[in-house]
Amino acid sequence: MLRNAKINALLWQVAFAGGVILLFAWMVRNTLANLTRQNVKSGFAFLRETAGFDFSPTFTGFTPASSYFDALVAATINTLIAAAICCVLTTILGFLLGVARLSQNWLLAKMAMVYVETLRNIPLLLQLVFWYFAVLGALPGPRQSLSFRDIGFLNVRGVFLPAASVTDGGVQVLVALLLGVLVWVVVARRATAHRIATGTDITYRRYLFPALAALTLGVALISGFNVDLSYPELKRSNFVGGMTVTPELFALVLAVTLYHSALTAEVVRSGIQSVGKGQAEAARALGLKPGQIMRKVILPQALWVITPQLTSNYLSITKDTSLAAAIAFPELVTVMTGAVLIQTGQSIEIIALVMGVYLTISLTISVFMNWYGRKKARTELH
């Protein structure tokens, strides 16, 4: 090859770029030819057409008269809500399991290990169809529902729970609560700074919390805050009122939570074990109780290691909600590659849209992880 390294590099890149462009041009030419040959429309104009189908649950009031774009939005919101519920539940369960695996109690540690090792090695899709078809499908009909104290019901049509809706003064109370949290954060920071500077504590909690509670209650009374509770009732052979969780959503949340909590438990366990034994021993020598040791010494340090992997787990959870295509829960992939694709046939635009939405979510999470990594590099002591 030529001796000059710079020209060499330039030539290689030109060749590489040329190859990539040729490949692209060939694929685009084929696509255009195939599209005209099969009489498939192209472009995103189809998004304004009427959808003509319906699905549930829907949090945006989607009706058959809405457009395909509304379907895209409603399905994305379904995905995000399902993912959010799963992330919260997985974090809680995963942390409990991770700590349980390291427990002194032999039985608890072994049971947690069996749980994690079993669920990690079975594909999530298999767990999902198992819960949906084998377990939820075997539930009794509405008339023979399993009930919890007659306010919650479980049957083959779903989970029926009481629902609360705020009729008056909701905004005011919300603003009061948010202001209260803001005040609490500011006061806590000032108190910590004061403690670090002078070594003495200010007792603020016994004055702050009652004051904020009184303030919120006052706002609630003045604005006429009212909450309506509606209970599910069996009318003929269906439940009316209250909140309905469809069996698809229930199975999806159940399967994803159980599977990913096993993965999260491993992340938490390795994070806790990465904190040196000396930390726990020093804390014990200082006289801290086991609960305090975990909360104030171990977990804050473990969180530096746990957070990146946990964030990547959250991303996996969001992408795994797409498996609901197997049980017809109307999230993004199911709706777009199901009803919309069948009715419009514009597969390229639809798949591009679906991938675009997921890419936006994952790039957002990547930005957060980069920021977190930089913050960790700045504040780490070693």
Partner: protein
């Protein structure tokens, strides 16, 4: 000279019962109120879950029979497995040609032993190349037939465990070069190459596998000229290789990053060009470092192949789903899922235990 006064010695944990089973139970299960409550709750949970499951699976189960009508008990109907085992293992593969998938499986297992375990170390490289390069090609030829006097078996007929393992092995083998190229490209000094590789990696990693599978089954036919039609299995292998390759590329990149710069500099001082340096010096070390990660990637791939049921292919899970649609067997769908779960669990657990074993060996 007098005996040491032991009255102030610290108490031995477990007291006088230390060293016996009761002493162990006292420290580990009942040491303190909180622990005792936890132990009792765990026992309550086990007692409420395990006996009913055991009853269903063993005590009240039907093991022998010829068809669904023989399952009259209230327990599991394991006749499911005896009745459907050919389909679960081989799919729709013609019954008289089953020696071919069996041979492929046997040869695979024989090849894995010298690669995975430290035996026959002198021919290790030969076996690795045989397993990763020659075996997938030979397996495809043997399974499909059509040449060398073998009857043609269309890929539509492949199914069950044969399809699952075939997908996992072939995609894993093909994803290795793809991942290596992407990892090297991402670390390249050439800005254009690096930009393209980063884009490809981030793009493919940011979308769920299902959308890639839909792309393979629905969108890919548009990208090729008329008449150049690949069958569904080939399209799926193509795109899943890309998907697995991008995940593996990040693992390999971690390994490449961990190598000391001295290796590169020494290789360049010896006059090795870029590709020879990679082949002779860098990659062998990087592969050794990321081997556990690569094995875990294979396990993830094995579990991920179950997604092909959504685009209409019949791997183990897809076969079970299809069987469960049969009205005679719908009532026994749980047995089917348990069988599928057992198959996946055995493979997945053994392979990840192997990965753990490698890690401990290296230390």
């Amino acid at each position: 000279m007098h005996m040491a006064d032991r009255s102030h010695a610290p108490a031995i944990p477990g007291g006088k019962l230390r060293g016996s089973a009761l002493g162990w139970a006292r420290t580990n299960l009942f040491g303190g109120i909180g622990n005792t409550i936890i132990t009792l709750l765990c026992i309550a949970l086990l007692v409420s879950l395990v006996p009913p499951m055991f009853n269903w699976a063993v005590t009240k189960a039907t093991f022998l029979g010829a068809s669904a009508e023989d399952c009259t008990g209230t327990g599991a109907c394991w006749v499911y497995f005896t009745y459907w085992r050919k389909v679960i293992f081989y799919g729709q593969y013609p019954a008289d040609l089953l020696w071919r998938p069996n041979l492929v499986g046997l040869v695979g297992m024989l090849l894995i032993v010298p690669v995975a375990f430290p035996v026959l170390t002198r021919w290790r490289r030969f076996f690795i190349v045989a397993l990763v390069v020659v075996y997938p090609v030979a397996a495809t030829i043997l399974l499909r037939g059509g040449i060398l006097g073998l009857d043609l078996v269309d890929t539509e007929k492949w199914g069950g465990l044969t399809l699952t393992l075939f997908l996992a092995v072939v995609v894993n083998a093909l994803s290795l070069p793809v991942a290596t190229l992407l990892a090297l490209g991402r670390r390249s000094q050439l800005p254009l190459v690096r930009a393209v590789c980063v884009t490809v990696i981030e793009l493919v990693r940011g979308v769920p596998l299902i959308s890639i599978l839909f792309m393979a089954s629905v969108m890919l036919p548009f990208l090729f000229p008329e008449g150049m039609n690949f069958n569904k299995l080939v399209r799926v292998i193509l795109l899943v290789t890309l998907f697995a390759g991008t995940y593996l590329a990040e693992t390999i990149r971690g390994g490449l990053n961990s190598l000391p710069r001295g290796q590169y500099e020494a290789a360049q001082a010896l006059g090795l060009g870029y590709w020879r340096m990679q082949y002779l010096v860098i990659l062998p070390q990087a592969y050794r470092v990321v081997l556990p990660g690569m094995v875990n990637s294979f396990v993830g791939l094995l579990k991920g192949t179950s997604l092909v049921l959504i685009i209409g292919m019949f791997d183990v899970l897809g076969t079970i789903q299809a069987i469960n649609l049969n009205p005679d067997w719908t009532a026994h769908n749980t047995e089917g899922y348990v069988i599928a779960a057992a198959i996946f669990w055995i493979f997945s657990f053994s392979i990840s235990q192997y990965a753990r074993w490698i890690e401990t060996r290296k230390k």
